[in-house]
């Protein structure tokens, strides 16, 4: 209490920084590398959720097809870093394209952003749930094209997916191979973690800056009252398109990282349920509130995995035997968690102070 609040804040940031830095080693040593892998995926989901948060949380536009941008980023990375194009079009590609990651990721962001604007343009007039179904349709259209563009020209290799995607290389070292640093073997999943973490922090930074910018305030204005926003001189069309475009870029980056991490992409990874999952992260965490969204993404990425590990031992210790098989229980509890959290914290687990106030006022009025 007596301590200087600034100092406290700095100390807090330093502590979080140290915690994030040692996290993979701590997790890897206690729980095994599969948990580091799960944490890696959680970081990807944080990026996705923050991207969707721009569209849904800041600008208030319900998007059920967000995963399409993730798919665009992933397939772009896959095409530019795998032998697929060289096999499919030997006349055009004498050697397999092997673009460096620092070129592919920005390109993926750009292309995904363009797709975002493409989706935004015809939907500007739509509101609420009509927008939801159109974005859902857009997501499905992208997935169907990815699934079927193996003929007449084999662009995406159809349902078979694209294999042998090279992992991201930094300083000549492929991130899926272990690296010896100061006599310590750092496994590939750890390296991926640091790479993902750096990009996640960048995304967080961009989000925070956007939120406090003119554009950020314009989004909130549109979310609260579009007509009034237009009356205040906000170019609602451009501002909405920017929300779709910028939100999509994050998805594109995360998609590229996913492709390099997995080494394999196929259309089944980009179904509607993934879009729904990311939306759940945003809403459950606290729409429009960056720390809340991060919390939501981390929680929902970890919860099913924790249940996968915990379902059997917990039942055994409680009842002495396995009553419900762990797979059913895992999804069942996940569903119940969604219902329960929304029941008791309808604004999300960690909503922004502003939204909390609004909700309280709304509740009194009703």
């Amino acid at each position: 209490m007596s301590a200087d609040p600034k100092l406290k804040a700095r100390l807090g940031i330093a502590l979080i920084g140290v915690a994030l830095a040692v996290l993979p080693f701590a997790v890897g040593a206690t729980f095994g590398n599969s948990w580091v892998r799960i944490v890696d995926f959680a970081l990807l989901y944080v990026m996705l959720a923050l991207g969707l948060n721009i569209v849904v949380g800041f600008a208030g536009l319900l998007d059920l097809g967000y995963i399409a941008f993730y798919a665009v980023g992933a397939y772009l990375y896959a095409l530019l870093s795998s032998p697929h194009l060289a096999t499919a079009f030997p006349a055009l590609f004498a050697v397999a394209p092997g673009w460096p990651v620092w070129a592919v990721l920005p390109l993926g962001a750009l292309v995904a952003g363009l797709f975002g604007v493409m989706l935004g343009a015809p939907t500007l007039k739509l509101r609420g749930d009509y927008l939801a179904i159109v974005t859902l349709g857009f997501g499905e259209i992208i997935r169907i094209f990815l699934n079927n563009l193996n003929a007449p020209a084999n662009i995406t290799n159809g349902p078979q997916g694209i294999n042998n995607i090279a992992a991201a290389q930094i300083g000549g070292h492929a991130l899926n191979r272990p690296l010896e640093l100061f006599g310590v073997m750092v496994p590939g999943v750890h390296l991926q973690y640091y790479f993902f973490l750096a990009l996640t922090l960048l995304v967080v930074f961009v989000c925070v800056r956007l939120q406090d910018s003119r554009l950020g305030r314009a989004w909130v204005a549109i979310r609260e009252d579009e007509v009034a926003a237009r009356a205040c001189g906000i170019n609602t069309r451009n501002v909405k398109l920017l929300a779709f475009g910028l939100g999509a870029t994050f998805g594109g980056v995360a998609g590229g990282l996913f492709a390099g991490f997995q080494g394999f992409v196929s259309p089944e990874s980009f179904g509607l349920l993934e879009s729904v999952m990311v939306l759940c992260m945003v809403v459950l965490g606290g729409m429009g509130h960056i720390p809340g969204v991060i919390l939501g993404a981390v929680l929902l990425a970890l919860l099913p995995e924790a249940l996968r590990w915990g379902a059997v031992p917990v039942q055994q210790s409680l009842f002495g035997k396995v009553l419900i098989d762990p797979e059913s229980l895992r999804l069942l509890l996940f569903g119940i968690a969604l219902v329960v959290v929304m029941r008791w914290r309808p604004a999300g687990l960690w909503p922004s102070a502003l939204r909390k106030r609004e909700l309280a006022a709304h509740g009194e009025a009703a």
Binding site: V56, L62, P122, T123, K125, L126, R127, G128, D129, Y130, A132, I133, V134, L136, G137, F138, E140, I141, I144, F145, N147, N148, P152, E226, V227, L272, V276, L279, C280, V283, L284, M287, I324, S328, L331, L332, F334, G335, I336, A337, L338, V339, M342, R343, P346, A347, R355, L359, H362, G363, A366
Partner: protein, 307 residues
Amino acid sequence: MDILIQQIINGLVLGSIYALVALGYTMVYGILGLINFAHGEVVMIGALSALTAIGLLVPSGLPGPVVVLAGLLIAIPVCMAVGFTIERIAYRPLRNAPRLAPLITAIGVSIVLQQLAMMGWGRNYHTFPALLSVTAHKVGGAAITDLQIIIVLTAALLMAALVWLVTRTRLGRAMRASAENPAVARLMGVDVDRVISFTFVLGSGLAAVAGVMVAANYSIAHYAMGFMLGLKAFTAAVLGGIGNLGGAMLGGLLLGIIESLAAGYIGDLTGGFLGSHYKDVFAFFVLILVLVFRPSGLMGEKVAERA
């Protein structure tokens, strides 16, 4: 020519099923402004509970149609109970919550129902016993079965009954009033909570009918069958103008016919470049086109943005 007639019949049958499911979506949406994502799962529960009942009744040796009817009569109250419970437990506490909260709850409910069904009915696909006549009648070179005729007629009949209920009865007036403005409706003596409960119960009853028809027509039922069906029906409801009963019917039939014609002719129309695998793309494309020109669907009223 008979191929075209056949495709339109195919579309009508499929569309009637979509329409029946879409009615449930649109009723709930009309009154609460909520996309009840769990509606497809209620359809699935209807199909599976009817199937269980039918499985128990088949050895009794009763005639096929009687058995199916009995199964239906058991599925309807089961679904109504499920719908009532969902509304009470999951949706009612969220009446004043931010707009997206009930959507997430609906997704949660959908997952829970699916898992419970998987635990109850198992992972295997269930077969609907051949109790109804599937002999095909010839209509100008095209084939249609008795069952398919029953499906189209039932959908039309239920639709007409619903319109009558909503426009001509006291209850219907209460429903419309609650949809228009719950606070004022309450002041006028409408028990809004009861009206909403009733809407869910009615919508779930329709879902049971739809579930039995789907299972009978395709002779298959499975715990994961509700999702795709729900999605298609939701699309149909939006196409017609969500919240509007006539719109749900029109949207359902249109979507069925569009899919059918797209699957049949998209290859010829694009010179073989696109095939029947793009039928959903085509359907969504039509949806987007319709919404660009009529942002609230074909029959939706022009409404101001909800607060």
